[in-house]
Amino acid sequence: MSTKITVIEQLKNEPKNLGLKALLILGLIGVGILGVVYIDYNGFTEFGLTVMWNISKSIFTPNTALLFGEGKNGVLFLITETAAIAFLGTIIGTIVSIPIAFLSSRNIVPGWMANIGVAFITVVRTFPAVVYGLMFIRVTGPGAFTGVLTLAVASVGMISKLFIEVIEDLDPGIIEALDAAGCNGIQKVQYGIVPQLMGNFASTAIYRFEINVKYATILGMVGAGGIGAPLIFAITAYRWADTGALLIGLIIFVLIVEYGSAKIRKKLATGE
């Protein structure tokens, strides 16, 4: 073969990707410079290590009266309240998301309508949950109710975005088949759409519940109920035994939620 390439020729043909490499290196240098300019290092306080040591130690020396305590200050109540906030926020967010998602899906409504819906969802999604929290607190005052509303609104953005993806992936063949079998509108929804959507919707909602549980602990900070506020007050007041009790509760609770969520979602995905 006359066109056969030699090893040395091929060695020279190696794509150098110089552009990409330069972009990567320049990017890193740029970030480094920006970091040095905009992020001030204020020195290290050794007291921080003491705090870290005390927090770590506190998990093994918790205030058992608080940990197993009943009533409104007990860890069990705070965890239940956090779970309730996250649960209600997720349920309301899911219910609100369903019509929004259907009205923003290209295979259900005309394109212009879907565009408006998607734009609305994008706007809702961009705001951090804390912003909604700070706004709702001026509506309903501090407390668990504010937490519920905040998480509900914050959930709508993500849930409806994921729902739209599921709806737009619907297999139209099934509807056609039901059409051919002479099903009416309600039957088409019941046998053609619901079975396709249910699993995915449920999976999305459970996933968001997991996220909401974590948010619920943060929202405590803006006064929206749950275990977050007592935990942060305990740490900032250096009440280590209380910190330990609250942290143990939180860690176990989040681990259970993560485990359960993964299990159920796996079941939904693989069908048992």
Binding site: K4, I5, V7, Q10, L11, N13, E14, P15
Partner: protein, 254 residues
């Protein structure tokens, strides 16, 4: 020289895959191992480079007792033994040349391998290996854009770039079509002859094994039941190895 003396392999679940194997293979031989699936072919092959640890007997490669090797010594030993797999075992998302260069990382300092800084010499070795299997022009294509036969050649080139003394091939053509299989097997023969590398291959298809190997080893239930030149393999011998008449499934129809 590879020497098995009463080699036994028992898996943790109690299955005895090798039941006292005696065997010696000289440098530069082309050996095919045939037998039913589950007869112990793969275990036999993988015990040579200690991808499977033997549990009894003695296995030496060039007078080194391989079962005593650990850590760094084992890794240094493995550099002399290349391996080719049924499923090619390439990184499909990356280029052919990078797959071949992977054979060189064993010899590189860790930091260089982390940054992917291959020496020019390594690149030349890799390209020459690709040239040897006839796909030099594909060096910068992504591996998943190549056909099955070409991918197996990349895998062979990766092994050659390792500059080994022995190549172990575990069902190298079982997932290829007959025509491609023949081409890949010819490449094995070419490398065996040109570089005096010992080739030991497990083969599912008897006819391919007989056509390309100088020596056939028949394995049945963890024991060697035949060992001799391929020309001496008769139907009766095959019947003994397989415990039944050969079926179409055992032949590639080449």
């Amino acid at each position: 020289m590879i020497k098995f003396e009463g080699v036994v392999k028992t898996y943790p679940n109690g299955v005895q895959a090798l039941k006292g194997v005696d065997l010696s293979i000289e440098q530069g031989e082309f050996v095919c191992i045939i037998g039913l699936s589950g007869a112990g072919k793969s275990t036999l092959l993988r015990s040579i480079n200690q991808m499977h640890q033997i549990t009894g007997g003695k296995l030496t490669v060039d007078d080194v007792d391989v079962s005593t090797l650990k850590g760094k010594e084992l890794r240094r030993f493995r550099r002399n033994i290349g391996m080719v797999f049924q499923s090619f075992n390439l990184v499909k998302r990356t280029t052919v040349i990078k797959n071949v260069l992977a054979a060189r990382v064993a010899d590189m300092p860790l930091w260089k391998s982390l940054l992917g800084l291959y020496a020019k010499q390594d690149k030349i070795i890799a390209l020459e290996a690709l040239d040897q299997v006839g796909i030099l022009e594909k060096a910068y294509s992504r591996a998943d854009q190549l056909s099955g036969g070409q991918q197996q050649r990349v895998a062979l080139a990766r092994t050659v770039a390792q500059q080994p003394k022995i190549i172990l091939a575990d069902e190298p053509v079982a997932s290829l079509d007959p025509v491609t299989s023949q081409q890949v097997m010819s490449d094995f023969v070419k490398i065996n002859k040109a570089l005096n590398i010992t080739v030991i291959a497990n083969m599912h298809h008897v006819d391919i094994a007989l056509k390309y190997a100088n020596r056939i080893i028949g394995v049945k239930e963890g024991k060697i039941v035949f060992d001799g030149p391929s020309l001496k393999v008769t139907n009766d011998i095959l019947k003994e190895i397989y415990g039944r008449e050969l079926s179409d499934d055992d032949l590639m129809g080449a």
